[in-house]
Amino acid sequence: MIGFQTLLYKEVLRFWKVATQTLMAPIVTAMLYLLIFGHVLEAHVQVFPGVSYTGFLVPGLVMMSVLQNAFANSSSSLIQSKITGNLVFVLLPPLSHWELFGAYVLASMVRGIAVGAGVFLITVWFAKLSFVAPLWIVLFALLGAAILGTMGLIAGIWAEKFDQLAAFQNFLIVPATFLAGVFYSVHSLPPFWQAVSHANPFFYMIDGFRYGFFGHSDVPPVFSFGIVSVFFIVLAAIAVRLLKSGYKLRH
């Protein structure tokens, strides 16, 4: 347990020491999205009855920040350690694959939730929000962070260069979060794109999270929770298996 705790502590300390880049920057970015899109669209768009566009946007931006930063944490930590070679400090000790998995994913969740909380605390002043089902809010935030932390771990194990990781991030993670209904309700899309959106697991994370605020969602939250849980279990199984086999880590 001490090994796991130490690795978790190290992973948290790592991003905390560069908090300007890992916490402040994404909070400012999310705030800019809110100011710009809120200003442009506030008067024209009403997604849910009785909910302003800015109000609709806040939970989406919070969740997007949680997801993207959870991914960034584990993936960038691993690729940096691999490229600079200091991953040996973690590979030489008697840490099990479960300890490695737990520490990297939990640290990612801490970073994702910390950024999400920061975005929330700043943006909440711009909109009137309700909190219909706070338990769903917490549950989807935690699960979403865990999923992206796990995806970051898998990407970090797989990537051999920063370039490959950037491709993973820019061509998979960012589009998947943007197209998951952060800025719009997928109900406003043509039927074909609605169907495509429903194949995107990120959609269920954001939809379920938003339900916790407004009590409105595109699909029932229990259904989203089921999909998101299964997605997490599958990804976690893959990540633990990769760590156990030593794939691309122990040559």
Partner: protein, 303 residues
């Protein structure tokens, strides 16, 4: 039970056979040298022992614990100083050592951390960030990291490459002390005089095979005797000494001549023969064979 038991370990990287069925047993308390030219497979072997690489076939165990199936126990018994100068730029020296202790399941290890830092002359750098340290200091931290959990088996992969004399001395004093206290030490180095001075037993690797394995003393004895190098001011070498000459061709005055001698006792009769033949010696040196001669002779088949 040997400290490290290596049984027919093979490893292939693409078309390169890095290790071809290496078997070795290193006993507890040994100071063992693993020598060989670049690319002989030393680092690959160390990586497999440390669990950083997986062997294609064969097994390795540390104090009887298999490095794959019993990796937790095996790794907790092992301290490894990697060849590459790696460090985590986010942390100070003390943070680095505390974390490394934690990875090995140790809490409140500051007493031993302070002692290791003291022996490696790191105390004044305890709170410096790793980034700000010189190469030699970073190397010391790597050694300290390998020792945080007082491992009974210590492996150092070229720890003195590019390191100044002072650190070499400090390092070897400390490692030799740990060896006297019972730690098994495995060392790879390109400095053969270092291996000769420290290691009681040596394995030489060449193209992934063990080509020599013996105590350092008998390796030196077995391969070549001593050499008497002399230069004659006048006269020639008498016929009864010609069979001792190591290089072919005539021996003439003014030229360096090397004679093979197995024993100090053979030197006196040689000098007597020279005197009788009327040859005058201008210069004379007795060159004792060392590990480097052995190494060159064994690796000689190489292109």
């Amino acid at each position: 039970m040997p400290a490290i038991q290596i049984s027919t370990v093979s490893k292939r990287y693409g078309s390169l056979q890095a290790l071809g069925g290496v078997s070795l047993a290193i006993d507890e308390g040994e100071f063992f040298g693993l020598l060989g030219p670049n690319g002989a497979g030393k680092t690959t072997l160390i990586s497999i022992i440390a669990g950083l690489s997986r062997a294609d076939s064969g097994t390795v165990s540390i104090h009887g614990h298999d490095v794959v199936t019993g990796y937790r126990k095996a790794r907790s018994l092992l301290g490894v100083v990697p060849q590459e100068l790696v460090f985590d730029p986010f942390f100070t020296v003390r943070e680095t050592l505390r974390m490394q202790s934690g990875y090995f399941g140790l809490k409140n290890n500051d007493g031993w951390i302070d002692e290791v830092m003291h022996h490696l002359d790191l105390t004044s750098k305890a709170d410096s960030n790793m980034r700000s340290l010189s190469g030699g200091m970073k190397r010391r931290v790597l050694v300290a990291q390998a020792l945080v959990h007082k491992p009974p088996v210590i492996m150092l992969d070229e720890p003195t490459a590019g390191v100044d004399v002072e650190l070499r001395q400090t390092l070897w004093q400390f490692i030799a002390r740990l060896n006297r206290e019972g730690h098994t030490v495995v060392l790879t180095t390109h400095y053969l005089e270092e291996a000769q001075a420290l290691c009681n037993r040596v394995a030489m690797l060449k193209a992934g095979q063990v080509v020599a394995l013996d105590s350092t003393a008998s390796l030196i004895k077995r391969i070549s005797g001593s050499q008497l190098v002399l230069r004659l001011a006048s006269g020639t070498l008498p016929d009864n000494l010609r069979h001792l000459v190591t290089q072919p061709g005539d021996v003439v005055a003014g030229q360096l001549t090397t004679l093979r001698v197995n024993d100090y006792a053979e030197v006196e009769p040689i000098l007597a023969s020279l005197r009788q033949a009327g040859a005058v010696i201008e210069d004379l040196q007795l060159h004792q064979a060392d590990l480097e001669d052995v190494f060159i002779q064994i690796m000689g088949g190489e292109k």
